[in-house]
């Protein structure tokens, strides 16, 4: 029987409440406030045009994140020229692999640390905050490409097609992004964080 009368916020209010949440991810992926605001506005509009009864707030959230991902891909496609130009001079020529100490013969100078299992720890929320901060510290174009792989879950081929990028270029950027992220996590979580 659907006769419950507790004061649930209206659908419109629920949608509006999610804006800040969505904006965080749009910013992280797009690295541009205006584009991020636009993608979120379009997502909210799409949600309002299709009001339906969501049993639980988290269902609405999941659904809106899904729409946001589509809007974000549209924005990336639309602005690809602007960030391909910026990309060339934002990163040094040094391969981050050079920041790991190797001996002259190519062997590790010291054993890589055992990281353990961060998600099994009580403070997984803190860990995810560090992960986001590290992703946000990547040079903008590397961050975008990396999150296209890891948040939008696009394949390397799809990314190259969407952005007219050569695979060599993409692989170099992802190689650097992943090594930088590894370094950042090691410094900010595995060495300083709660006991591993």
């Amino acid at each position: 029987m659907s006769t419950t009368l507790h004061a649930e916020p209206s659908f419109e209010n629920q949608v509006a409440d999610l804006q800040t949440y969505l904006l965080k991810f749009a910013r992280l992926q797009l690295r541009n406030d205006t584009w991020a605001q636009d993608a979120v506005s379009e997502t909210v509009l799409a949600a309002l045009e299709m009001p339906r009864a969501f049993g639980h707030r988290s269902q609405l959230k999941t659904w809106m994140v899904g729409i946001l991902k589509h809007k974000v891909v549209d924005a990336l496609r639309h602005h690809k020229r602007e960030f391909c130009v910026a990309q060339a001079n934002e990163d040094s020529d040094i391969d981050p692999l050079e920041f790991i100490a190797f001996k002259a013969d190519g062997h590790f100078a010291e054993l890589p640390a055992e990281w353990g299992n961060p998600e099994a720890q009580a403070s997984s929320r803190q860990f995810f905050e560090i992960l986001e901060a590290c992703a946000n510290q990547l040079p903008a174009s590397q961050g975008r490409l990396f999150l296209m792989r890891e948040w939008l879950e696009l394949s390397s081929e799809e990314i190259c097609n969407e952005l007219n990028l050569s695979t060599t270029n993409l692989y170099v950027q992802l190689h650097r992004a992943r090594l930088r992220l590894r370094e950042c996590l090691e410094l900010k979580w595995f060495m300083k964080g709660p006991a591993p």
Binding site: S58, G106, H107, F108, W115, P118, S124, Y171, R182, L185
Partner: protein
């Protein structure tokens, strides 16, 4: 431009399955975004069997992989669900 990757293409022309740790680290990172050629997969396996350091690096890369997957789920469902998920555990 690919740095270690390029070096290792040249080296592999001389000794087909021999890789340094540095080359193996580059391959382990590359494996996250593309399928490696058979000869690289084989060289990787042989190196990982014999090396003490590289399996540790591989575990770091795999931890990053699973953390990113967990993060994706966390972002999709949002903070609300975290408490409920923990209670269920």
């Amino acid at each position: 431009m690919l740095g270690a990757e390029m070096v290792h293409e040249r080296a592999s022309a001389v000794i087909p399955f021999r890789r340094t740790c540095k080359q193996v680290a580059a391959l382990l990172i590359a494996r996250e975004d593309r399928a490696l050629a058979l000869q690289h997969r084989l060289a990787l396996r042989l190196h990982l069997m014999a090396c003490e350091a590289c399996p540790r690096f591989e575990r770091q890369v795999l931890t990053m992989r699973s953390s990113l997957q967990a993060w994706r789920n966390y972002m999709a469902k949002g903070e609300d669900d975290e408490q409920t998920a923990k209670l269920r555990r």
